[in-house]
Amino acid sequence: MSFDVALILQSLPQILEGVGLTVQLHLISLAAGTLLAVGLALLRISPNPALSWPALVYIYVFRGTPMLVQVAIVYYGLAQFEMVRNSPLWPTLREPFWCAIIAFTLNVTAYTAEILRGGIQGVDRGLLEAGKSLGLSAWHRFTRITIPIAMRLSIPAYGNEMISLLKGTALASMITMYDVTGVARTIVSRTFAPYEIFISAALVYLALTWVIQQGVKFAERYFNRHLRK
């Protein structure tokens, strides 16, 4: 096997053009999914089964099916519903970009909700009792004690989720989008040099992952500042 290093380098600038879209898909679905995950995690830990069960089913469904399948269902499936087609949102929902965002967001929500649940349940009960004994309201106990501590506990797993979502965004290429992988695929179909082009794409993903890792490292250092003796 021999690689054409020059071709790898040559194709890089073109592949970099896909970075903008990859990053957009990543950040938008990450932000939306994380917000929704907070709500879902709260439902999930509710003692009321009418709240926790739907959350459990949701998480089961989205963790238990491939994201590829989810993207396909959203992309091909939404149009099947007349209600969707007639809604004022249809021009948007028809866009592959928003289909991808919806599918990724639903997926991130499920995984992140589980991560946050672990963090929330990892908070020492004694601290919450101390909060109660000081007269802090349930809201203040949650926002001032549970959340900051749960966030610290959740960071490592959340970092993994960010990286795995980054790689997951490659699925957008399947529904006609020119993200990093999408661009790579079109170059491959022109050059018939899959090794070089996909290596070039891999390098781009590695660089993006490195950025995420640095961010996670920084966040960990920040949230662990009180643990340094």
């Binding site: 020492d124 004694g126 601290l127 009792e129 101390a130 909060g131 109660k132 004994s133 000081l134 007269g135 802090l136 309201s137 203040h140 001032r144 004690i145 900051p148 501590i149 610290r152 949230f223 500042r225 009180h226 643990l227 003796k229």
Partner: protein, 250 residues
């Protein structure tokens, strides 16, 4: 809060509490008057923690009555947080908020519950840190302090709410021996200032010096209750005698 000096600030009548089928409190009667110091002792599992945790409703009793500062604790008490803010509690495990500095630990509840301004809360916090003799630790995180210092911070944190009653659940049990005294000294000073206190502890020296009444619990009941002079010299109950002989000899 209750009007007259003679009114009990805490009243417990026939209080029961079960965990599943296990009876942790089997009908406890206790009257605490303003300024009184009660030391509670008894074997492990006798219900000491459960009793004081019922007084600020960290546990809900399931029978009898508990009245704190004139307010009966029931499921219908709308503002349990308001009752709790008048009752300080110090835990065996300190339970300082690990993500906040010492001074932030102290300022949190005054800011959020008492709606104090930051400078006001800071001043209050420094005042109580001085009272527990560690103003110089204000900017540190709890993990950077010794156990004895952490427990004194926990006491100061409770005091910042200006509670009418302080509950202590084995405050020195998690401490190395050389740190027990510094915490007991702070508690002794608090007692001398007239604080109403219920202290679960096996520090019998503290009980002799500070307590108005020593309560002995066994199997979810108060078996014996007497001033320390009587309690230690002439315990009437067999179980008390056995317990005292064990605890005083080791």
């Amino acid at each position: 809060m209750a009007a007259s000096e003679a009114d009990p600030i805490i009243l417990a009548e026939k209080v029961t509490k079960s965990f599943g089928s296990f009876r942790a409190l089997a009908g406890v009667d206790l009257v605490v008057r303003r300024g009184q110091k009660i030391v509670v002792c008894g074997p492990s599992g006798s219900g000491k923690s459960t009793l004081i945790r019922c007084i600020n409703r960290l546990e809900e009793h399931d029978g009898g009555r508990i009245v704190v500062g004139g307010i009966e604790l029931t499921a219908a008490v709308k503002d349990i947080d308001a009752v709790r803010s008048e009752v300080g509690m110090v835990f065996q495990q300190f339970n300082l908020f690990p993500h906040l500095t010492v001074i932030e630990n102290l300022m949190l509840a005054p800011r959020l519950v008492r709606k104090m301004s930051k400078p006001e809360a800071r001043e209050l916090a420094m005042h109580y840190l001085e009272r527990v003799h560690i103003p110089e630790q204000a900017a540190k995180y709890p993990i950077q302090l010794s156990g004895g210092q952490q427990q004194r911070v926990a006491i100061a944190r409770s005091l910042c709410m200006k509670p009418k009653i302080m509950l202590f659940d084995e405050p020195t049990s998690a401490l190395d021996p050389e740190m027990i005294k510094e915490v007991l000294d702070v508690m002794g000073e608090l007692a001398a200032e007239g604080m109403t206190m219920i202290v679960v502890t096996h520090e019998m020296g503290f009980a002799r010096r500070v307590a108005d009444l020593v309560v002995f619990m066994d199997k979810g009941e108060i078996v014996e209750m007497a001033p320390p002079s009587v309690f230690f010299a002439n315990p009437t109950n067999e179980r008390t005698k056995v317990f005292l002989s064990q605890i005083l000899t080791h």
